[in-house]
Amino acid sequence: MLLVRLAFRNAFRHRLRSLLTILGVMVAILAFGLLRTVIDAWYSGVASSSANRLVTRNAVSLTFSLPLAYKEKIRAVPGVTKVCAGNWFGGIYIDEKNFFANLAYEPQTLLELYPEFVIDDADQKAAFLRDRKGCLVGAKLAKRFGWKVGDNITLRGTIFPGDWEMTVRAIYRGARSTTDETQLFFHWAYLDETMRANYPARAGQVGFYLVGIADPDKAAEISKAVDAQFANSLAETLTETEKAFQMSFVSMSEAIILAIRLVSFVVVLIILAVAANTMAMSARERTGEYAVLKTLGFRAPTVALLIAGESLVLSLTGAGLGLALIIPCAKAFGTFMTDFFPVFAVSDQTILYGLLAGVAVGVLSGVYPAWYAARVRIAVALRKVG
């Protein structure tokens, strides 16, 4: 007990220095937590994917389409419950800077396949399903542009030329915190009919099919059965689980993720340097005191423990403050980076790792000074002071 009190007292003897150290650890833990959250955000699409959904796309690459005729053939595959045609639309709202995901889907099947898109108002839902030029937007997206139900908006097509007018008919919210609330969905029929009128060669083409299956354990089997149907055709397909599909986007930027992971380790190294520095200084300054403690009969391990305790007090206080700040900071950072990360939430794991990092820094930065103090010879240390 005495030891704990002593460790606390020591930690705050040099008030300014301790404060600076705590601040340093705080900033670093904060940075570490934010970096991990950035990586989590990257994988949010993967995390929110369902095992009950498959994605069928052109085997060559996502930029190639599939014929509409495949839809019924896929539905006929045993185990498939629902099929929804979809296209990445890639439209621009007023300016390129306002990037957000916008896709064309068959509305009824989309809502059936994605129970996590919750439309609270039944009238809104019915209105969206009824209006061919209606669209469904996420709550965050609606908030970003101040859209309300009934607003008319125009998207400029980049892949599908022209100005596309639509009306906001419904707003969805996510059933979970990891659900992306920044997307816009509109009727696939609107897209196809407009293409049929203006560019007949591009009509009847589907970017990808969302496939609902009854039994997730049969995902591999069903994928194989779907792809076998179209083997050696003009448009061979590649069917994979939604998770694998989302993962393929993540792996495209694996180099950046790797860099961020590396950087988050660098952060821990920096805190370590700052904290170790402080501890080394305290140990050197207090060499005399340790000698006195030893003279009084305290054993070397006790003295070492005292120093390690001091180091832990400093680093844990800093880590605690840093962790307390993570959530508000992530919120601020998230609104700033909303173009890139639709979901930006701090996970429990991040908090846990932050805490572990704090403990690790406390222990590691205390090791050398503790060892030094335990080892120091009384006579030498006393002479230095005298």
């Binding site: 980049t158 892949i159 961020i260 920096i270």
Partner: protein, 387 residues
């Protein structure tokens, strides 16, 4: 008389462990800072070098990338036969009607990524003097032969000379490897445009790239093409086009890198501050003596600031030194705008090195200012007594 620099230097040497730890922390920050700038610069240089100043790109109106664009045959012919388009020695128009499609290939690391395949014609090579055949030979026009860029060869599996790729229901033989220097073309695969269009059942080209006989004709050329209602096309300078391609990615890299270093640098400055405060605390008596000897407050302050600046210099030099080794590495990632893989180098320029050093010195000044101020404010008598 000012306190000599060697005094500050010797102080750092006395506390070797502390100096190394503080400078090390700063070095890590400078390293990350430099690496970010090097990455953004590498990306910029790669894409700027990809475009030539006197080439113009014709895309479908409001499509932002080649992949999204389509230009039908008759429009392509109109664009290629304008009087501003240059003619080569054999009297052929310097116009490349190209097709760009993305295919998914497996990387050596096992993951898949999109690679751009460019269907080319005779003019494609003439328009891009940066692209030079390195191994093998050029693909025969009208055949299913392809050549691959050196970044593709080094990053992807099964694309070496003599191997063949299967896509669009055909086998394509790799007959050549080309060196495109530090440009975006190095991440592409080139083959015959007409063959690729048939294989992928495309009716139209993606873009037309023309060389203008005079770069100053650009505006005239653009106004004619964009005013022509048959074409529904947009004309950009090739260099501008490639710069636009990098916007999203480079903005992302910059935002991420700058916010990271901003946070880190706070940590490093705190580290420097701790070190300098303790340097002052340890030498109160010494400072008193110096003052008693007649050194002025300003000189004491300068001596401690110099010490902190030296610390920053050490950190900055170490950080920049290690970051310089990154120049031997290429970084490869998917460009958000085109969805195709793009390899670029970490590029260190004199400007970046001076920014990094400046940043390190700035950290030194900020970290050392308050402690130095405190040292200079010490009361002579009290300082001497405490020593």
């Amino acid at each position: 008389m000012a306190i000599p620099l060697s005094y500050s230097w010797r102080n750092l040497l006395t506390r070797r462990a502390t100096t190394a730890l503080t400078a090390g922390g700063m070095a890590l920050v400078v390293f990350v800072f430099t690496a970010t700038l090097m990455l953004a610069e590498g990306l910029r240089q790669t894409l700027v070098a990809t475009g030539s100043p006197d080439n113009a790109v014709i895309l479908r109106k409001s499509s932002e990338t080649e992949v999204q664009s389509s230009v039908d045959r008759s429009s392509a012919n109109v664009a290629a036969t304008m009087p501003q388009v240059a003619v080569d020695v054999e009297g052929r128009l310097m116009a490349a009607k190209e097709l760009i499609v993305l295919i998914s290939l497996t990387k050596k690391s096992g993951t898949a990524s999109n690679v751009a395949i460019r269907g080319t014609n005779y003019a494609s090579l003439e328009l891009r003097p940066q692209v030079v055949l390195k191994q093998g030979r050029l693909p025969e026009p009208g055949s299913t032969e392809i050549m691959v860029g050196q970044s593709v060869v080094s990053k992807f599996a099964g694309v070496g000379l003599g191997q063949s790729l299967r896509f669009a229901q055909r086998d394509w033989t790799v007959v050549g490897v080309f060196d495109a220097g530090n440009t975006g073309f190095a991440s592409e695969i080139w083959g015959d445009a007409e063959q690729l269009m048939q294989a992928f059942r495309r009716q139209s080209y993606s873009v037309v790239v023309v060389k203008l006989s005079d770069a100053s004709d650009f505006e005239a050329y653009r106004s004619v093409i964009e005013a022509d209602p048959r074409l529904q096309a947009e004309v950009k300078r090739e260099r501008k086009y490639y710069e636009d391609q990098s916007k999203a990615l480079s903005r992302f890299l910059k935002v991420l890198g700058i916010s990271l270093t901003a946070i880190f640098s706070i940590g490093a400055m705190l580290g420097a501050m701790i070190t300098m405060y303790s340097a002052v605390a340890n030498r109160v008596g010494e400072i008193g003596t110096l003052r008693a000897l007649g050194f002025k407050r300003r000189e004491i302050m300068l001596a401690f600031l110099a010490e902190s600046l030296l610390l920053g210099t050490l950190g900055g030099a170490a950080g920049t030194f290690f970051a310089a080794f990154l120049s031997f590495m290429t970084f490869s990632t998917t460009n958000f705008q085109t969805f195709a893989e793009l390899a670029f180098r970490f590029t260190l320029t004199g400007e970046i090195a001076s920014w990094s050093m400046g940043f390190a010195l700035f950290m030194g000044v900020v970290g050392g200012f308050l402690p130095a101020l405190r040292a200079s404010r010490l009361n002579i008598v009290e300082a001497l007594r405490s020593g």
